[in-house]
């Protein structure tokens, strides 16, 4: 297993947000600033790595008929852990993300990887899959957030100001319509330039 190749798969070839179009809700909602986007990306990645690891370990003792409920409980457990940890250590971000933290449970990327990968592969491969897909999701949402924050607020991470003080920015891009429109054009760009090569 080649980690570089896996990473390429997670970020470019099978990017969960921009190519497979999974996990659209958190992508749209949490890309209003780069800080939120990175927070969301890391939170989802941690849950994904944890659930992939546990599911790959219990796959042999889980009866096939009840596997989906079992997977959901495993995922929900990691979401609860992430929720509590974030509430303790990053209270501001926790408040900003609101219900989108518990909603990681129904993020189709995570259940999708459990079903498509972790239940068929070993522990190490599943953890690596969790890491690369988690990074892919984080990259996807962060790219979108950078575009939106740059156009909408003229900054990145809220501190690095790129637009001179006092000049106006296109506020719409940090508001809900901007999320849909930017993501639409971003996916179109990916369709045109990335998908063709592969």
């Amino acid at each position: 297993m080649n980690f570089g190749k896996e990473l390429y798969r997670g970020i470019i070839k099978e990017n969960p947000t921009l190519v497979l179009l999974l996990g659209m809700c958190p992508t749209l909602a949490m890309s209003n600033s780069v800080t939120n986007a990175v927070g969301m990306g890391i939170a989802a990645a941690v849950v994904l790595i944890g659930s992939n690891a546990v599911i790959s370990l219990i796959k042999n003792i889980t009866p096939d008929k009840v596997r989906i409920p079992v997977f959901i409980v495993v995922i929900a457990t990691f979401v609860t852990i992430t929720d509590l940890v974030m509430e303790a250590y990053t209270p501001d971000l926790h408040k900003q993300m609101g219900i989108f933290i518990p909603l990681i449970v129904v993020n189709c990327i995570i259940l999708g990887r459990a079903e498509a990968f972790a239940q068929k592969n070993g522990f190490a491969a599943s953890v690596v899959d969790g890491i690369v897909i988690g990074i892919g999701f984080t990259v996807g949402i962060t790219v979108l957030a950078s575009i939106r924050e740059l156009l909408g607020a003229g900054s990145i991470f809220g501190v690095i100001k790129l637009v001179p003080e006092g000049s106006s920015t296109i506020l719409m891009f940090v508001l809900p319509p901007g999320a849909f429109i930017s993501l639409g054009f971003l996916i179109a760009a990916v369709n045109k330039f990335v998908k063709k090569k592969s």
């Binding site: 659209m24 809700c25 958190p26 929900a76 518990p102 996916i187 179109a188």
Partner: protein, 190 residues
């Protein structure tokens, strides 16, 4: 008056799809035909009302007395999953026509984040039981409205010449963005 504010707020001012970004997957997935969009909308109204009612009761009668609110996420998702299964089984036995109309959409609804989202939102907003149910019905109607408007536009969109790279999801998202802009016009109404 209080209920009218909740209803207008949930359907227009804070439309769950266009302004809160919940339920985007079914929104993009089943909005290609007007008939499927209507079926999905009806199923969501049904399940969301029921799920909000049941999870609210679980919250008040189980989680709060036992002081285990941190179990909220796990309990809610299991309750919703079980509920959807149960509704499916009961509908199959009781009403064949209703089952035929809603049946295919029910399994999809378990992973619809609007259901869990609304169940969590009513607790965070400190709504009473009646307010929660009204909010759930109104939110579901808002979801249905968004889905049906969008399906109507998408049916027409099939006839247009769209650039290759924009076909499918990208043009759908841009259209949703324009609709979202329109819905922002309701801001400040309540």
């Amino acid at each position: 008056m209080e209920f009218i504010i909740i209803i207008i707020g949930a359907i227009f001012v804070n439309n769950i799809v266009f302004l809160q970004f919940l339920g985007i997957c079914p929104f993009l997935g089943v909005s290609t035909r007007l008939s499927t969009a209507t079926g999905m909308a009806a199923a969501v109204v049904f399940v969301m009302t029921l799920a909000t009612l049941v999870t609210y009761l679980f919250q008040v009668l189980l989680l709060v007395p036992l002081d285990i609110q941190f179990m909220q996420t796990i309990v809610y998702i299991l309750v919703i999953a079980a509920l959807v299964q149960m509704v499916e089984i009961i509908l199959k036995k009781v009403s064949q026509p209703l089952y035929q109309a809603l049946g295919v959409y029910l399994p999809l609804i378990t992973t619809n984040c609007t259901i869990l989202g609304v169940a969590l939102l009513v607790i965070r907003k400190n709504y009473t039981l009646v307010q929660s149910v009204v909010f759930a019905i109104a939110t579901a109607i808002g979801f249905g409205l968004a889905l049906i408007i969008f399906a109507g536009i998408r049916e027409k969109m099939d006839l247009y010449d769209i650039p290759e790279a924009m076909k499918g999801a990208p043009i759908a998202l841009v259209t949703a963005g324009l609709l979202s802009l329109a819905f922002m016009g309701f801001a400040g109404m309540v």
